[in-house]
């Protein structure tokens, strides 16, 4: 009885992000075309209401993010001058991108004519006009925006936002909302009081890795940017983003997001104190579909945080990154991200024929109004296209948002006083039927190589590339990359575990032991490392020691059928048949189809027909 479980090292990839969508604005009545004769009397009912209903009322109505409603003449009149002022400065409606070559969905941008019209209305005394001119009030769906969700999950504990102080960033973990694999077509994020929540993101945590950051289960944790470990090849990604006025985006058939059991959803929200204490307890509405995904979008990230080392006083610090697409893709959505010092953010696509087109341009970055932008129709980029980003930062005292006064040196990092240079694109690679290689793997590997080239001293770059190579079966190159990673962080548990796992796979369990022990020294409750060490020891027929490792593994994760089966098998090897049978049966109770447990249980019964446990 020598069969043991697969030596599958469960590797972890470091990604900052996982998932998303975008926004859909109710399209109310279109603003009327204006004949702008200089002396024409502008009225609320005829000229202004259509603009407010279309662009403002989505948020400026009771229960929504806008601080006051803009549904009636008297609502508008009591803020008229302010409306003219903030539309002129383009603070409202909040829409950061400049008009560009590729049209963005749900654009919330007033035309110059509309802005002038509002200004003129105010100058003329903000007249109401004839009742017959007033268009019907926009109709809004109350409650859940796209119907009752199939499943509603609520944060276990509220977050208490203090009355005053700086912006806060908080993370709620929604534990394993499903007990089997489901396909999600939409998530509605209800962030709590919309007046204090600036934006929110849901990240899919397939390894329940964020839980480690909670002080107690359900407590949530602080942090502006969070890291989610994911499996080596798990690129299926959607933007799950909320900003004020968002209507959840329903994915078309085929683009559903996989949600497995033992997956957490982590909600990251940005809050601004309102002047009074607030209690925030968000909920998520999940909408399922029976149609599994047939198209697999992924998130591609350009970034260059390591180049962020901005001297105090520097007004125009430039950070760039560029990536050449190895395959044809469609770009579905784009999400530029930085913190408080960024001012101008641009992304381009340079086509193989040399044509350069802007993917997005934000000339006045404002963290508070960051958003995911979906293209009105997908942008086709052929293989060989270079995607580039160019961000500019102002670390002078003239930038009022500067977190430091007086300004000081700022580097890349996760805290709100650090900076970031990230550009995320949700892309859909073209899949050629019958083609053996998955284009997503080519993309991920190309991206990982790009990161290693860009940051040769970066642990995660080597680690991620190694993990990808390992999954592809390029063990020799994977081991090289793991070694590079371990040279940078010799004690890192994940890298030691993954390296150990790869060494086992290459047939040298004796060489793997030291790395797995290092992993366990730094992280004693590391399931994967106990499991892999158990395998390595069992392969060398050190069954007694192997039993101890498998025991530790099942103590940490009692739900893992492979660990139970291997524990049973190793126990059988040292003659502890009664206990062996119990664990093999437990493995089958968890996974009735587990061949290893089946076969070994049969074998066990054959060898000891007389024994009854």
């Amino acid at each position: 009885m020598k069969r043991l479980g697969r030596t599958l090292a469960i590797v972890a990839l470091f990604l900052f992000f996982a998932a998303v969508l975008s926004t859909k604005i109710h399209s109310g009545p279109r603003p009327q075309e204006q004949t702008s004769a200089a002396n024409l009397q502008i009225t609320f009912n005829r000229d202004i209401a259509p603009i407010l209903f279309r662009y403002c009322a989505t948020c400026h109505r009771p229960g929504e993010a806008g601080p006051f409603p803009l549904l009636t003449y008297s609502d508008a009149k009591s803020h008229a001058g302010q409306i003219a002022f903030v539309t002129r400065s383009r603070f409202m409606p909040p829409w950061l991108p400049e008009p560009g070559e590729f049209k963005l969905a749900d654009e919330l941008r007033l035309s110059e004519e509309q802005i002038k019209l509002i200004a003129k209305w105010v100058r003329q005394g903000a007249v109401e006009g004839a009742a017959s001119d007033l268009p019907p009030k926009p109709e809004f769906v109350e409650g859940w925006q796209i119907g009752k969700p199939d499943l509603i999950v609520k944060a276990e504990q509220p977050y208490r936002l203090p009355a005053s102080g700086t912006d806060q960033y908080w993370n709620f973990i929604f534990r394993t909302p499903v007990n089997r694999t489901r396909w999600l077509k939409a998530i509605e994020i209800r962030p709590g009081d919309k007046r204090v929540v600036h934006h929110a993101n849901v990240l899919v945590d397939r390894t329940e890795s964020a839980r480690a950051q909670e002080s107690s289960p359900g407590a949530g944790f602080a942090g502006m940017e969070i890291k989610i470990e994911s499996e080596a090849f798990d690129p299926d990604s959607h933007f799950l983003f909320w900003k004020p006025g968002t209507i959840p985006y329903t994915e078309p058939d085929g683009l559903a997001l996989r949600l497995d059991a033992q997956t957490d959803l982590v909600l990251n929200i940005h809050l601004q104190p309102s002047g009074k204490p607030e209690s925030i307890q968000p909920s998520l509405g999940l909408y399922f579909t029976d149609h599994p995904a047939t198209l697999f979008p992924m998130l591609l990230q350009l970034e260059n945080d390591r180049k962020l080392d901005i001297p105090p006083g520097e007004k125009d610090f430039i950070v760039t990154d560029e990536f050449t697409l190895p395959v044809d893709v469609q770009v579905l959505a784009i999400y530029p991200h930085a913190h408080y010092l960024a001012k101008d953010m641009q992304a381009f696509a340079t086509f193989p024929d040399g044509t350069k087109k802007s993917l997005i341009h934000i000339a006045k970055w404002d963290l508070n109004w960051q958003a995911v932008y979906r293209y009105d129709s997908p942008v086709e980029l052929p293989a060989g296209t270079v995607i580039s980003m160019r961000y500019s930062y102002d670390n002078s005292a003239d930038n009022v948002r500067n977190p430091n006064n007086p300004p000081k040196r700022v580097v890349g990092g996760n805290r709100s006083s650090d900076e970031m240079a990230h550009l995320w694109l949700q892309i859909l690679p073209h899949t050629v039927p019958g083609e053996a290689s998955d284009p997503r793997r080519l993309l991920q590997e190309a991206m990982a190589r790009h990161n290693v080239d860009k940051n040769p001293a970066d642990f995660e770059a080597h680690y991620n590339l190694a993990a990808m190579l390992q999954v592809r079966g390029a063990a020799a190159e994977a081991m090289q990359q793991y070694e590079m990673a371990l040279r940078i962080r010799p004690e890192d548990p994940a890298a030691n575990n993954a390296f150990g796992g790869t060494i086992i796979s290459s047939g040298h369990p004796e060489a793997a032991v030291q790395y797995l022990r290092t992993a366990l020294r730094t992280r004693p409750d590391y399931f994967d490392a106990h499991y892999n060490l158990g395998i390595a020891l069992a392969m060398q027929e050190h069954f007694k020691e192997a039993v101890e490792e498998f025991r530790a593994a099942v103590r940490i994760n009692p739900r893992d059928a492979n660990a139970e089966a291997n524990l049973g098998t190793a126990l059988a090897e040292i003659g502890n048949l009664r206990e062996a049978q119990a664990h093999l049966e437990k493995a089958l109770a968890i996974d009735p189809n587990l061949a290893l447990a089946h076969d070994n249980l049969e074998e066990l019964k054959r060898q000891s027909p007389g024994e009854k446990p």
Binding site: S78, F91, A163, R195, S274, G275, N368, N402
Partner: protein, 177 residues
């Protein structure tokens, strides 16, 4: 012919009043003391965010000054204002100023802005509380100038403040009917 003579209480409609409708002149109420008028409205997110600081300053300078919250919006009833005060934890006396008597006297334009009258009840400062906001949607992590506190401290020493006025960022009082 019978002339009926109404002795209209002149204050009504022409002077600020407290939440029970009694007309109040906050300067006359505080002879010889510094008076701070803080102009706010219930539906202005910028003035709401200042609530904790306004309350804190009123306590800090309670010895030398009297703080009054002034609501220039005549569409908000005393009940709505009472509810608002409770919601935001205000313990200050509140006045309604539907005719903008105090607004004019103070020269303020937006909420939140303040007016500081010295012990002789001369207007020595009007404008923003501090420079937290540079513009709508553009705020500092923390204010770097503190005009209201500086003005009160100057007035308590009997000297004029360094700045007599500084424009605030907020909701336009002129928009109110």
């Amino acid at each position: 012919m019978l002339f009926s003579i109404f002795f209209l209480p002149l204050a009504v409609g022409q002077r600020a009043s407290d939440l029970s409708g009694i007309s109040v002149d906050p300067l006359k109420q505080s002879p010889g003391r510094i008076v701070v008028l803080v102009f706010v409205r219930t539906d202005c997110p910028l003035s709401n965010r200042y609530a904790p600081l306004i309350q804190e300053l009123s306590v800090k300078y309670a010895r030398e000054s009297s703080f009054w919250l002034v609501f220039p919006d005549n569409s908000k009833s005393p009940e709505e204002i009472r509810g608002y005060l409770q919601e935001y934890g205000y313990k200050l006396a509140a006045l309604r100023d539907p005719e903008r008597v105090l607004v004019k006297k103070s020269g303020v334009k937006v909420t939140p802005e303040v007016a500081v009258f010295n012990a002789k009840h001369e207007l020595v400062y009007h404008g923003r509380i501090d420079n937290l906001y540079e513009d709508f949607g553009r705020s500092r992590r923390a204010a770097t100038t503190h005009e209201l506190a500086d003005a009160i401290e100057a007035a308590s020493k009997g000297v004029p403040p360094l700045v007599a006025s500084a424009d605030g960022v907020g909701c336009f009082i002129s928009d109110l009917q």
